[in-house]
Point group: C3
Chain length 297, copies 3
């Protein structure tokens, strides 16, 4: 490296180091105990191996029994999940002043509680898979859905993230669902409650907000928003019910928006494509936008 | 590992192993002969190297002639593609009881047929590239399109997947197009037929259903759905024509939906943004939504 | 490998080599001096480490001081960025006939200019982060935004790409923003000018065209298009102002489209969901689509 370039680099380093001294949020320098998104992503894929042992295998090692394989996966996920939970619990004001031993204990308690939910998550997953197969004439077989449908992946990640969210884990659930969002274009907040037999077709552009509640046997297509009426209030609206409630057996076609925390879509409703709904819809109604007037010339 | 944790893990393992015994679809444990999505992804990128030899090179090794490089790539793709085809043919009821030798032979026959299509796929690709360049004032040069436009990637993957689909390969074509969907937000079913000079701009949110037919010189923008009118029928609609036919020289602006298997968009039609079309449109028509009434206050 | 297969492969290789001789754009064989998208992606993530030193660390090595870490990162990014700039400058007609030494010098000059912008980019980033936190009741804390919000990532990549674009670097800026588009579903052209305190919520499906100008304190939701009225003109429209101007304190809700280079959205305007705007809107106006007529049965 020439001396000139060395001087240039030193000047740039000093310029940026000075900029780090401005004491803004972004100027934090210590990166000790940092959340590791790659580990969280790895946890998702290993949980998928646990949920669907016959479809996704561990390529690194071959083990001879389902039991050995499962023990190994479980230990691995538990170790890594607890380490990440220890890190994020330190963001929680309840734990800010706790002794580190207490945080370790709490992380372990949470991870055990989470693992006990696996049979329940798997039960839901089986119902989702049935709903996908029954609902989509383009599905060749259930294996195709497991291997390729983005909607099933997004729902699976939400079911995991939602349990961690209920157990009071900060940050990790949202990192999980945003990873699924990145892969699928489907943005489901970890707070959203999803019923059984949930079917998402195509999925890109779907947004399901934090306080949404969805019943059983609901179908949602690409571009649907289940959102808030307005977010003008910003942080003052935190944890208020801002997103709609969708009852059982509802179908919502592509591009529809359903907004507001008081909006209830009754059971067996069908919402047509591109409908913009801000009020409750009584059970059994078919809603569609009036034939658009088109100009033709 | 402490004894307490060992006991906890053993209990969790038993809980989940018990759950695997419920004999549901998801309870399959044997993961012998599993489809490998990473290999299918690798096949896509190596095919791209074959299609566009001057743009994407193999970083692992440097070879000195185009011929050596091509031979190596071709052998590699052939070997891996055939292995995956052998696995998926076992999902096909026609091959369920076939002797494994016959499946190997069929996989080899299919892969040879596929490779013979490469000049045709490349010819289409050249026309697409021209359409992208001519259609987009923001395109700096054709290299920029090759290196960065998601639409070209999605179309290329569809052209590959469509040929494999026509050759009767299950699962792999859809895994390919869903990979492209994940990367681009553009969801084109392998069954869809795309004409020459096909231009997709931006692309996020586009859905092109299984039985769609698209002519030459068609332009489609972000958020366009070429879909089915209803999927209530589920699996009973399998392989029926459910998606529209788009004739030559049609432009479809962002957010438009064109639905239904009997819907034919005639040649030289322009469909305006956000139009919702469920009936055929005669050739040469310009369709736009009537000026939206806006409330201003 | 059996002789039969060897013959088959040789025949396929000859078939494809023949196809390479057709002298079309795609038939370029020489891949010397190729742009490397993986390196450009790596540059993005290393710049993020420089911008946010306390949030994203280098996992490969642990260094003991912020200064050492920064020097190392900076040298690495500078080396790789200059190498890529040297390659792409050869696409620029101004440099086609330049001596390679001049291109190296120009690449170094550009990279120095770029690095001097880092404090300014970081200042903008801090304002964006504040806007995200203040605007979203679902944000748990600012760390969650840094680690998981796709909108912040897309804006950060645009701010980098925009500076390189202003410095006259071809191709690389667009490869950067298309990488962000792939990860987030948010498609912002490097030419677009973004003000301070810019907030994008959810984001999937957003398109912000090349000649868009956006003021301070603007909020944009998923599915919004800031686009051109028509692209019929193709390459003849190159570098003309085709996309709208958005003044300060504007909110644009999901699914709205604002089109045209003469369209100015005045300050403090609120554009309601799904509005389709092709004309200027005076400052302070609240625009919403007239209550959709819905058919209920």
């Amino acid at each position: 490296m020439s001396e000139v370039i060395e001087t240039e680099i030193n000047e740039l380093v000093d310029l940026i180091l000075d900029d780090y001294k401005k004491d803004r949020f972004i100027d934090r320098v210590n990166n000790f105990n940092q959340i590791d998104k790659d580990i969280i992503k790895d946890i998702i894929y290993k949980l998928r191996q646990i949920f669907l042992p016959g479809f996704f295998s561990n390529k690194k090692y071959h083990t001879y029994t389902a039991k050995n394989n499962l023990s190994m996966l479980l230990e691995d996920v538990m170790y890594n999940l607890e380490k990440q939970i220890v890190i994020v619990l330190q963001y929680d004001t309840n734990f800010k002043d706790s002794h580190i031993e207490n945080i370790y204990e709490e992380a372990h308690r949470i991870s055990l509680e989470f693992f006990k939910k696996i049979p329940m998550i798997r039960e839901y997953l089986e119902t989702d898979l049935e709903a996908f197969y029954d609902g989509d004439p383009a599905a060749y077989c259930k294996d195709e859905i497991v291997f390729s449908y983005p909607g099933l992946f997004a729902i699976m990640v939400n079911r995991v993230a939602h349990e961690l969210h209920l157990l009071g884990v900060p940050l990790i659930p949202r990192i999980m669902t945003e990873y699924a969002h990145s892969r699928t274009g489907i943005d489901i907040h970890p707070g959203a409650k999803l019923g059984k037999y949930f079917f998402i077709d195509h999925g890109t552009g779907i947004v399901i907000g934090e306080t949404t509640e969805i019943g059983n046997n609901v179908k949602i297509y690409q571009g649907v928003t289940l959102g808030a009426l307005s977010t003008r209030g910003g942080q003052s609206l935190k944890s208020k019910k801002r997103h709609p409630t969708i009852e059982d057996n509802v179908t919502i076609y592509s591009g529809a928006s359903i907004l507001g925390g008081d909006t209830v879509i009754g059971h067996d409703v069908v919402i047509g494509g591109n409908a913009f709904i801000t009020k409750s819809i009584p059970a059994g109604t078919k809603v569609s936008i009036k034939q658009q007037e088109l100009k033709m010339n």
